[in-house]
């Protein structure tokens, strides 16, 4: 992660702590990790491939996301002392509560997508006519 990164990140913890947790679970990769782990546990690379089927995630961001979620107590990390290394990630009971709400919100946006698209079309059309 790097020392300067860790410092900057510690600084942000000062403000409104629960806002930060919200940002963790709704972050770009946090959403996808929680959603995947809601169904079953994954190994690191396996999880990366699973998520990558929709959105490519760099190894760095996946590691960072998993660490954040683990520290918050949403994800459990089980590193087996074998060669080659094997690490399994699973969701905790606390993480499950968060993941279910996030998934519900994600599903809602999917269901309401038509309404959103219509609203956008109306908005864009209105702007088009005034700017021309």
């Amino acid at each position: 992660m790097g020392v300067s990164e860790r410092e900057a990140w510690a600084k942000r913890e000062a403000m409104c702590p629960h806002r930060l947790v919200l940002e963790h679970v709704t972050s770009r990769w946090g959403v996808l990790v929680l959603d995947a782990l809601l169904d079953r546990s994954y190994r690191f690379s396996e999880l990366r491939r699973q998520i990558g089927r929709v959105n490519k995630v760099s190894e760095k961001m996946l590691a960072q996301t998993l660490q954040t979620l683990e520290r918050d107590g949403f994800v459990h990390r089980d590193a087996k002392p074998v060669i080659p290394p094997r690490v399994d990630y699973s969701i905790t009971p606390l993480g499950r509560e968060a993941a279910e709400q996030v998934r519900a919100l994600a599903r809602w946006t999917d269901v309401r997508m038509d309404d959103v698209e219509r609203a956008r079309a109306a908005y864009d059309a209105a702007r088009e006519s005034t700017s021309l």
Copy 2:
């Protein structure tokens, strides 16, 4: 907003459209705007002060957030043709559905904050002992 900004933003619309909507409603300022408008409508500066009681938001970011949410059909903008200008922002029925879920998630993180703090303490303690 600027032309280059608008282009970059249009580019991101290509991928997984509902993921983008999710990012809009869970964005740093989107959450706060929706939460505030859930209770009542606000004028621009009034909304800025209300949000600023917790987190300072720049005028630029507030305007940008409101535009995004308006375009998605979550927020209604009512600009009255008077001098000095007066613009009222309110939530739409669609926006209310989103806002309620976001607020529920925000409340959950608040309620579960103790568990998170404990998990963090345990995580940090474990790292402390191995690194020393």
